[in-house]
Point group: C2
Chain length 490, copies 2
């Protein structure tokens, strides 16, 4: 089965459901990409656009916010919106669905991933291959104070009472964040875990048995592949759009053909693509999976790192049957190294808690208390605003540097959140070679083949923009670009 | 296969290897048990015993230390050793090997265990059924200070650098403790985990695949059974002596017949028996397993909680082939709730580290730093002395209360460490009934059937003496005793 068409071209039903502001934003992005609107050009006024498109002012504003979040336009005070000067200098976005083989496969990728990650972990390397944002982005001092205070006031019995499912105050704070996002998840339906990775693994263990097939995106986060491999599960990789996430038609086909026992997806700012499923698509996803009685394990660790004007809802928001096992953590947005994550596993909550009790018993209790206390005092949202602003800026800078240094024909995603850029090099480029050569020159990148079971994406790399930009980073992109250009000239 | 003989009667080779002081102590214990020596009697002087037994003074002293640690004799200053007044009031020790079925079985015990544990976790219950010692035994204030200091001085990069295998300073401190126990385990051969339970599970995952058989003691810690069940492994339960641990002849038979891929054993103060394998037997165990190329997963969480004069060596001390995966933690002896444990997995270290990376990524870093700092400053050994003294005293008090309140025919182990007493009630008693009735009266106990795959040990209960003794505890034992007596009279 070849999925060589663009996502939107083949799905009139989905296009119909696409919100007006999204269509408007897409049209304008196309105008910028094709040069109809050039850097520095003023965008049509909101009033004119309302008239010409027959839409409301709020629709136009939403479209402009979206374009701003994507780094394509900039607001100037009292003057309206302008095409950003960097817009044309960025590489164009990839637009085609991935084309994984339509198979259910046992896995043998973990060793390659480890070889590459081991090399990437070195300290003196420019960390474009890293999976983590810079720890300097986080309020570790304030967290330390919260930790100090709660450790010294520790009720000894909390070392027993706060074992799995976890400290109640922390679970309440997490429930409050769900509520703020318009979702009703009760504290009793939350299981605190050692980071999101454990949450995802426990959920997977709760709904599968060895030999079962599990659907993932293509490309997908290598840790998902490693988990499936470790647990003796088969993988079904499903075509995925670089901007809008997994293809629902292809997913439906996979559900019918491979009868998977679970889907493990990232709906918000997918790793490695940075794709963001639109709301209407998330709703359709949840409905589709419910019809097939397949639980959705939703990895939402980047959900709070949005560059738009609101936190994108997780698919869990559309779950009416308790079939979405929502997993997240504080590791990427607040407290790296504390290893506090959670699952909200819907109807599987007690099974996930039992998996937790028999595998690692409980998450660290001082860390739970510290986060509960930090969240109760407030300041998380303020920190998040700062973090999102920093990441958004770093995305723009990296995207421009890629546009500048990389060979013609390079495409790069323009993620609306998270901290990963997915770069498609010209087809003659070999990412594993670039990875190896770049490491020798002190620069890391995450080569495409670690994101698929079949070592596909051989001309792709994932770049991390979660670190502060400096001359070393600039040089690092220049080195990657030079290596890629050399590959093109072979 | 029936194992109805006593451990020592059938193993001349092992008896020969038994140290002289152990034989001497056993003989004296027998004299006390049979009334030849009565409470308050003075023991023969060291000099006389040397002459009559033809042994050195140090052998006699070692034997007397052992008897003192077992609560059978007491030293009085300048007067020598006397049979302790409580010795006869304690229930006799069980002496027979367990007799599990000689089968490799898939497991279905986890649900029963959870039902019972859930009931036991209630706060207002006398916690004889608890798996934890009282948190009031631990230096949580000093740990909190260490945590506070290290959290506030946190190097942000440690949130990345101290991920698995874990903080180097902590691994060095653990390596130093191995060294103090006469063992050479390098910091590089240690993987920090979320408590010992995760260490054990990672080791199990590193050396088995679903469907493999794993040897455990009979009875065994229920979490081992739950782990095997969760991972789709089969269990082979091997006859175990209440004082000296797993029976090596029976183990050899099991190795030949069932070809297990691992043994999961507790050599020091086994849960639930409290048995302690003598050194010569540990050495023989390691040699036997090496000959069969079967790795030993050694759960040593109670090793530091000895009542004798030195820490008993783990089997790992006799490992020459890297086949012993030694697991322990600070949860039972220093820092409950911190969830910091470790594995020293010998030749399987890198595989265990990879299992850790793909399942929970890392242990909580502030907790690791706090423990490293606490251990560096010293004070752990002083705390341990205090803890051991408290537990030893509590063991004596509980053992006496059991002797006083429980029906004639009751036997109870006299563990030399840890905090569990294993009580064999008369055969007509039903532990599950007692458990249920006692809970209604506000007293918990751990009924024998949760410690075997076949729900054996129906007349046994495990009692926790890790909590401070008070009137409530006294009443609790009285209630258990009354319920047991009522069962006898049926």
């Amino acid at each position: 089965m070849a999925h060589s068409r663009s996502d939107t071209a083949t799905k009139p039903a989905e296009v119909r459901k696409k919100k007006r502001y999204q269509s408007l934003a897409d049209d304008m992005a196309e105008s910028i990409r094709t040069g109809v609107l050039r850097p520095g050009d003023r965008l049509p006024s909101v009033r004119n656009t309302c008239v010409s498109r027959g839409v409301s002012p709020s629709t136009v504003f939403q479209a402009y916010y979206l374009l701003e979040a994507r780094g394509l336009i900039q607001a100037r005070e009292r003057s309206g919106y302008f095409v950003s000067t960097e817009a044309r200098r960025m590489a164009p976005e990839p637009e085609r669905l991935s084309e994984p083989r339509d198979e259910s496969l046992s896995l043998d990728v973990s060793k390659l991933v480890f070889e590459i990650l081991d090399a990437t972990m070195k300290h003196d390397v420019v960390p474009f291959g890293s999976a983590f944002p810079s720890p300097l982005h986080f309020p570790l001092r304030r967290l330390g104070q919260a930790l100090a205070a709660s450790a010294q006031a520790l009720d000894p019995w909390s070392t027993v009472d706060d074992l799995t499912p976890g400290n109640l105050a922390l679970r309440r704070q997490i429930a409050l964040r769900y509520l703020a996002a318009g979702m009703h998840v009760h504290a009793d339906d939350i299981v605190i875990t050692n980071g999101a990775l454990e949450a995802l693994n426990l959920c997977l263990a709760a709904v599968t048995r060895p030999g079962d097939a599990v659907v993932v995106e293509s490309p997908t986060f290598y840790a998902a592949l490693q988990s499936l491999e470790r647990m003796g599960l088969e993988v079904v990789e499903v075509p995925t759009h670089p901007r809008e996430g997994i293809d629902l038609l292809a997913l439906e086909h996979a559900l019918e053909r491979h009868r998977p026992k679970a889907c493990w997806l990232m709906t918000n700012f997918q790793n490695p693509l940075g794709s963001l499923m639109p709301d209407y698509k998330k709703r359709a996803l949840v409905d589709l999976l419910a019809r097939h009685a397949v639980p959705l394990i939703e990895d939402d660790v980047y959900g709070e790192l949005y560059f738009g004007d609101h936190r994108p809802a997780p698919a869990k928001a559309y779950d009416r049957h308790g079939m979405v096992l929502h997993c997240s953590s504080f590791s990427k947005n607040l407290a790296p190294g504390y290893r506090i994550g959670w699952a909200a596993p819907g109807r599987y909550t007690s099974e996930v808690a039992r998996q937790k009790l028999t595998s690692t018993l409980s998450a660290s209790i001082p860390a739970q208390l510290a986060l509960a206390s930090y969240l109760e005092r407030g300041g998380f949202d303020k920190h998040l605003r700062k973090l999102r602003h920093a990441l958004g800026t770093q995305r723009d800078v990296l995207a421009q540097a890629v546009g500048h240094f990389f060979p013609t024909g390079t495409k790069a995603t323009r993620p609306m959140g998270g901290y990963f850029l997915w770069v498609e090099l010209p087809e003659s480029c070999d990412a594993l070679t670039i990875h190896r050569q770049a490491l020798e020159l002190g620069v890391s990148c995450a080569p495409g083949p670690i994101f698929s079971s079949s070592r596909a994406f051989s001309n792709c790399i994932r770049l991390n923009y979660g670190h502060y930009w400096d001359a070393r980073a600039e040089d690092g992109v220049a080195i990657l670009g030079r290596l890629a250009r050399r590959q093109c000239e072979r």
